[in-house]
């Protein structure tokens, strides 16, 4: 559960969130402290920490690296107690995520295009709704392009969201060429002087070569319609995802040159630890997190809170 991220980021927005979840957050932080407080960093604690990292889906390689670094720091006398561990890990994680790389890139002139991709069921459409809301509240004019013309009722889903949030939408019939929708949307965004165009795409498994090529084509069409676009290509990852996410990131990066990750569904007990491995192997930063079903359940990513959440124990994990 990564709810801890929010406290700093959302500030006064916090009370909007369900009180039940607030309680869980307290419980998590409590359990983290109780794991570490007053203990010496002995093999027993090391092994418990290792297990926590594995349970958070960091994967064997990233876990081993972190544990090796921790062991080295312990031997060098820089970390001795459980209380030091958290600070050490936060510092270590920060080296993974330099601050500047998490900001959205905006076009100097004309519409900024954000291409959103991911596998089926990752949460693309909902994340786009959130992103639209986020940008609209920052005084940007936003348009969305319904390029998921494949999945049944996907266009309807995005249309409903666009209506609720109050942003423009460009759509075609179901089954039409998604690249053509993208083309029209780019021109409409230019003509209407939009600040941001967010392009929704159909969910696709990274193993489906033809669909990945379709995605490349969408990107190409966008690039031809608006210079330097897309300015951002975000991969939406479900926080519950396991090690296969690395493969996904590699393939999507190949197809559309990803610039960042939108980590969705972090309001469950999953921790999305795989983004550590992805950051490490591919240099892909997490830019946003999704933490609920409402459009305002979005926050910028905070490494500090992420680390804290990684080591908290889920209540259901028992």
């Amino acid at each position: 559960m990564a709810f801890g991220f929010l406290s700093k980021v959302l500030g006064q927005g916090l009370e909007k969130l369900r009180t039940g979840l607030d309680r869980t957050r307290e419980a998590f932080l409590g359990s983290l402290k109780s794991l570490l407080r007053g203990r010496t960093l002995d093999p027993q604690l090391m092994s418990e920490l290792r297990q926590r990292l594995l349970l958070a889906d960091l994967g064997v390689a990233a876990t081993d690296k972190i544990m090796t670094d921790l062991e080295a720091a312990r031997k060098a006398g820089r970390v001795a107690s459980g209380d030091d561990v958290l600070e050490f890990l936060k510092a270590e994680m920060k080296t993974y995520w330099p601050v500047e790389s998490r900001e959205l890139t905006f076009a100097a002139q004309g519409p900024t295009v954000i291409l959103v991709a991911g596998i089926n069921g990752a949460g693309k459409t909902t994340s786009i709704a959130k992103l639209s809301w986020y940008l609209k509240n920052r005084n940007k004019t936003v348009m969305v392009a319904a390029c998921d013309t494949f999945r049944a009722a996907a266009v309807d889903q995005l249309t409903i969201w666009a209506g609720r949030i109050g942003v423009d939408i460009v759509k075609h019939q179901m089954g039409s060429d998604p690249a053509a929708v993208a083309f029209d949307a780019c021109h409409a965004a230019k003509a209407r002087g939009m600040d941001v165009l967010i392009v929704d795409t159909a969910g696709r498994l990274h193993t489906q070569d033809n669909l990945m090529r379709e995605l490349e084509k969408i990107r190409r069409v966008i690039g031809k319609s608006i210079p330097n676009a897309p300015h951002e290509s975000l991969l939406v990852l479900d926080a519950t995802i396991g090690q296969n996410a690395i493969r996904q990131a590699v393939e999507f990066k190949k197809a559309v040159d990803l610039t960042g990750i939108f980590l969705a569904k972090l309001d469950g007990t999953a921790k999305g630890g795989i983004v550590v491995a992805i950051r490490h192997q591919l240099g892909l930063p997490v830019k946003f997190i999704g933490i609920g079903e409402k459009p305002d359940d979005i926050a910028a990513f905070s490494p500090d809170d992420f680390v804290e959440a990684l080591f908290t124990e889920s209540p259901a994990a028992g």
């Binding site: 559960m1 889906d57 064997v60 069921g121 296969n244 493969r247 569904k265 007990t269 999953a270 028992g318």
Partner: protein, 482 residues
């Protein structure tokens, strides 16, 4: 780099078999690597622990240390334990009398419930049932429309209420609707929810109490990580699940976490979703999935698929045509189509032992197959029956008609003629001769498919007639060989 669990295991046990004899420390060392492989496959930390313990205990306790083929023995132990871990097989759905049987689907957001409902409806329909799909996901925008579209594609009715009613009432009334309209299975598509969302979990419990579904199935994304166990446990403790359906199993995920769900909840995996098409729902066979994990291929599935698509009599007729060389381009097209009906090439070939790793970076040219179909369809009946008549002018016409190059057309015809000759020769040969002959053709790939162009380049050298002297020699050789 695709380092599937199967590849891990095969390299691991290749090393082990190379050593001749294994010792206790060998077993432990090997299991260290198995442990890492399982963790990388997202198998739950606790399950990895108990699995490895069981395997080590069995390996050391049995005769594996003294056996001549320790690698094979270890594979067998790991395999058996794996089958036990993810099995037993139980894809049965039971039906109540009087109908309708109510099946409730539940799961996290994005796990694939709605699509799976459509697939299950089609599956039940193929078993002679009359399913009814119920749109009880009032949460996600347009979820009802999505289910209605799928229902339409499958050809089963959908029960929906658009007046803002809650899912509990919708589910209750849908059962009455089914009873009144002769639908014998009711599939409830509930909204995706987090297992820690108290309000939504309470809603599921309420549906459960009011509707009393006969079976509750949890839909789990095969790509989930360690947390899968937490959510499955929560759903199971609140609803008493009957089984699990794993979705997105056609990706290159190793599905370890989803498979751990069985170990943790004790509920069987019933079906696998293996593609975006609605027919792509398979019954779960633990031995096959374990085989796939261990790189033994999945020949049984392939055979079953083939049996579904190929008519046995048809195949015999084909064989006869091949041996008499009356095999035409039309027959070829027909064969190619029934082969393609079985699924995408890559998926099919991935089921063959050893093919999985060999194919990992290969792009199988579905497009080329499309082109081949187009070319053949652009021919007249006479041309299809006797491709010899196709001269330059006809080639140009066919190329224009199919939107291809004259070169493509020539290559296809050349390849087809060669393949036909080769096929006729093969049909009168022993296995070893066939092997020699095939080897002589170089890596022509799948005979009669896209590799035909290459075959055409290599094969003509083999086409000369044998002199009586040569024939006699061959005969002698064959006799000596026996």
């Amino acid at each position: 780099m695709f380092d599937g669990l199967s590849e891990k295991f095969s390299s691991l046990f290749r090393n082990l078999s190379g050593k001749g004899k294994i010792t206790e420390s060998n077993v432990r060392q090997a299991m260290e690597e198995v442990r890492t492989a399982l963790l990388e496959a997202d198998v739950h930390v606790q399950v990895v622990q108990s699995f490895c313990d069981r395997v080590i205990e069995q390996a050391i306790g049995s005769h594996v240390l003294a056996s001549l083929e320790p690698g094979h023995q270890m594979v067998k132990i790991v395999f058996d334990q794996l089958v036990q871990l993810i099995g037993p097989a139980d894809s049965t759905l039971f039906y109540v009398d009087p109908p309708p049987t109510v099946i409730m689907m539940c799961g996290l957001q994005g796990s694939g419930k709605t699509t799976t409902c459509g697939k299950l409806a089609l599956y039940l329909k193929s078993k002679g049932k009359n399913p009814l799909l119920v749109a009880a996901d009032t949460q996600r925008p347009a979820a009802v429309d999505q289910l209605a579209t799928l229902a339409d594609q499958v050809g089963v009715p959908v029960y929906r209420e658009d007046s803002g009613n809650g899912p509990v009432q919708i589910c209750r009334r849908s059962v009455d609707f089914a009873r009144a309209n002769g639908r014998d299975v009711v599939i409830l598509d509930t909204a995706g929810r987090l297992h820690i969302d108290e309000a939504l979990m309470a809603e599921l419990r309420q549906i459960n109490q009011v509707v009393r579904p006969h079976q509750i199935l949890l839909v789990v994304d095969a790509m989930v990580g360690q947390d899968a166990v937490n959510s499955a446990r929560a759903f199971n403790s609140q609803l008493e699940l009957d089984g699990v359906i794993l979705t997105k199993f056609d990706s290159d995920t190793r599905g370890g976490a989803a498979l751990s769900v069985k170990e943790i909840t004790g509920k069987p995996i019933k079906f696998l979703g293996v593609g975006e098409k609605l027919a792509m729902l398979e019954e779960f066979h633990p031995d096959r999935v374990a085989q796939r994990i261990l790189g033994m291929g999945d020949v049984l599935t392939l055979v079953e698929k083939a049996q579904q698509q190929f008519d046995a009599q048809e195949a015999e007729k084909m064989q006869e045509k091949i041996s008499k060389a009356t095999f035409t381009l039309d027959d070829f097209l027909q064969q190619m189509r029934s082969f393609r009906k079985m699924g995408p090439m890559k998926q099919l070939l991935g089921l063959l032992p050893g093919a999985g790793s060999a194919l990992k970076d290969v792009d199988l040219p579905e497009e080329e197959l499309d082109r081949t179909e187009a070319i053949i369809q652009s021919m007249t009946r006479r041309e299809k029956e006797s491709p010899d008549v196709i001269d330059g002018g006809r080639r140009r016409r066919i190329a224009a008609g199919s939107g291809t190059d004259v070169r493509d057309v020539s290559q296809l015809i050349k390849g087809f003629m060669t393949a036909r000759t080769v096929a006729r020769k093969l049909s009168g040969m022993s296995m070893s001769q066939r092997m020699t002959m095939m080897r002589g053709m170089g890596d022509g790939g799948i005979p009669g498919m896209t590799g035909m162009g290459h075959m055409g380049d290599a094969a003509p050298a083999k086409q000369h007639r044998l002199s009586p002297e040569q024939k006699r020699k061959l005969r002698d050789k064959r006799r000596r060989g026996k």
